[in-house]
């Protein structure tokens, strides 16, 4: 068992098995916290997927906003089924992303970060100031119609927190599986190669632009999906929910968790969400502590929390091996 899979396998099994059981033991407050956490996990993993190509996509919250407003408007005004709107929100976002990709991917390095920030500002300004009677402007879009499902004669309406817990859990598992498969496929190899040596991989005949676009479209699709789940769950969406601070928060989760490994952002979101509950008492100075956490993580934990965990697991294994060897040698004596 490699060092990587040693920590990974029990973690994944635990995640999948424990997830559906949690609401039975948790209070409604924690069910809410966990549902938000799942949405953040999806977003953080999508952000990390963009980081694989060396691109920091600060527009992912903007795409989440577009997905959220799209869903809210169609659910409330159109009365269209949520199960149709949700994938459509994702597809709309990925088409928007493809259109945006043409100017964005002409930029390199720092220009790209700032380009995505520009887009985020445009989206925030748009939802704050335009089409006020449709999107509600700064005070926010509310009320949002609740999704419904009709299955086997049952008519379930998504009202309780627990139903959204299962919805976001289901979406998270699907997204994580898809992104995990993608990363370990040929495409994932290309993305990593683009980050490390884009000139080289271009010279062996890989279409850089196409692969960057594909990555970006998937990231946008998943961000849109996140917004789509988020909007009816929270019941009110404001442009400020998807401001730059929110993206910085997601970036912090990825960095603290460890951007090298797929499960890094998952650990980052989980650990920092629990820490965030501890910071609740600090009120508005929460962000100050997050700032210190982010800078400290970059300076002292270059591989993130997952790096620390892996090293600990590695030492534990070495120690058990050593103990085993000592006990064996005692026996032979």
């Amino acid at each position: 068992m490699s060092r990587d899979s040693f920590i990974r396998s029990p973690f994944i099994v635990g995640l999948i098995l424990v997830g559906p059981l949690l609401p039975s033991i948790l209070s409604i407050y924690w069910v809410h916290v966990f549902a938000i956490m799942f949405i953040k996990i999806i977003l953080a993993v999508a952000l990390r997927q963009m980081l694989l190509t060396g691109m920091l996509n600060l527009a992912c919250a903007a795409f989440m906003a577009i997905g959220a407003y799209f869903t809210a408007a169609l659910l409330t005004y159109g009365g269209i089924s949520f199960w149709l709107v949700m994938p459509f929100a994702g597809i709309t976002c990925s088409f928007l992303g493809l259109a945006l990709g043409f100017p964005l991917f002409r930029m390199k390095g720092a220009y790209f970060f700032i380009g995505t920030v520009c887009f985020a500002i445009i989206v925030e300004t748009f939802f704050s100031n335009f089409f006020l009677e449709v999107f509600g402007g700064v005070p926010g879009f509310t009320p949002i119609a609740k999704p419904q499902i009709k299955i086997l004669g049952l008519d379930i309406k998504f009202i309780s927190k627990i139903s959204y817990y299962y919805l976001s859990y289901f979406v998270m598992i699907c997204c994580l599986l898809a992104m995990y498969r993608l990363e370990n496929s040929r495409f994932g190899q290309y993305w990593k190669a683009i980050r490390d040596a884009d000139r080289l991989i271009e010279s062996v005949g890989v279409d850089l632009f196409k692969h960057k676009m594909f990555n970006f479209a998937i990231c946008c699709f998943i961000s849109g999906l996140c917004g789509s789940v988020y909007a009816p769950f929270i019941g009110i969406i404001t442009p400020h929910d998807f401001s730059l601070d929110f993206v910085f928060l997601i970036v912090m989760y990825v960095v603290v968790g460890g951007s090298q490994k797929f499960w890094g952002p998952v650990i980052g979101v989980t650990a920092l969400s629990f820490l965030g509950e501890l910071f609740r008492g600090l009120g508005q100075y929460e962000l100050f502590s997050y700032g210190i956490v982010l800078v400290a993580a970059l300076l002292f934990l270059p591989n993130g929390l997952i790096g620390v965990l892996e090293r600990a697991a590695c030492y534990a294994r070495l120690a058990t091996n050593e103990l085993y060897r000592i006990s064996q040698s005692r026996k032979t004596l």
Partner: protein, 286 residues
């Protein structure tokens, strides 16, 4: 009637453009010399404004003394930040960028922690009007623009004429080759960072009597500074001058004839267009 509005717009554009340039020029200096994009640069501008609030509004020091003290104080503080947070990531754009995101939170919330949530009003530094023909302008705006222009000129002369300026240009061209020539990269990088942040602080001091000092002012300014250096090309000082004045004109005329959200969206969309046709900026050379 139209003529006077036009002249007012032009003067306002020059004033605000000059102060934007003061912030953006430090950002572009830091980028070209250290290869980092400091998203927290606007926070030093905010620190300058609060230095003005403390020194000028509370302690009643002379305004020019305030400018010099704020420049030196924030400059020295930024040296500390550079040593602790940015030096380990020199040349690594992504990591340095993320560090600066953390610094934004630390500065903004730290200032709120110290000064409270409310914006601080700073009394006007200069009262009176400057009369040109039959038009009159607020003296403090003219003086702010003139001080901005003088500092920009001094920085230009420093970079072009002095030995240290030449070292900066050498590092901007090729860091390793410059190090081989015996240039101390660490000291010159720190110097550039300190000068850049000091200039941003001066912009804060100059603007806070005109507007006010608030914890979030850095976030607004940094976006404008980025627009300017994208327009002009990262790392180009002449590009920065042209970009700053362009943005000043764009905003001044836009805010006079259209509403602010439209101008915001149009500005950012225009930047996108520039990047589509000239990804290296108007004056970039790569």
């Amino acid at each position: 009637m139209e003529g006077t509005t036009l002249i007012r717009c032009v003067v306002e554009a020059m004033m605000i453009g000059m102060l934007y340039i003061l912030v953006a020029i430090g950002l572009t200096l830091v980028f070209s010399i250290m290869d980092i994009v400091n998203f927290a640069h606007g926070e030093f501008y905010m620190l300058g404004a609060f230095a003005c609030y403390v020194l000028f509004a509370e302690l009643h020091l002379n305004y020019f003394v305030t400018i010099i003290l704020a420049m030196i104080g924030v400059g020295l503080f930024s040296l500390l930040i550079e040593r602790l947070c940015f030096r380990p990531f020199r040349g690594q754009i992504l990591q340095a960028f993320i560090v600066s995101l953390g610094l934004i939170w630390i500065f903004r919330e730290g200032i709120r922690f110290i000064f409270g949530n409310w914006d601080k009003a700073v009394p006007p530094a200069f009262s009176g009007l400057v009369e040109i023909g039959n038009l009159s302008f607020a003296a403090e705006r003219i003086i702010a623009a003139v001080i901005g222009a003088i500092l920009t000129l001094l920085l230009y002369l420093f970079i072009q004429r002095t030995k240290w300026g030449r070292a900066m240009r050498a590092i901007a061209q090729d860091r390793d080759a410059a190090a081989l020539q015996g240039i101390n990269i660490d000291i010159i990088s720190s110097l550039a960072f300190g000068i850049g942040c000091g200039l941003a602080a001066v912009a804060g001091v100059l603007l806070s009597p005109i507007y006010y000092a608030s914890a979030t002012m850095g976030a607004h300014m940094i976006l404008k500074a980025f627009l300017i250096i994208i327009l002009g090309g990262l790392g180009s000082i002449p590009g920065c001058l042209v970009g700053g004045l362009l943005l000043g004109f764009f905003e001044s005329f836009g805010h006079t004839f259209f509403n602010i959200p439209t101008v915001t969206i149009a500005t950012f969309a225009a930047i996108f267009l520039v990047l589509v046709f000239r990804p290296q900026g108007l004056f970039g050379n790569e």
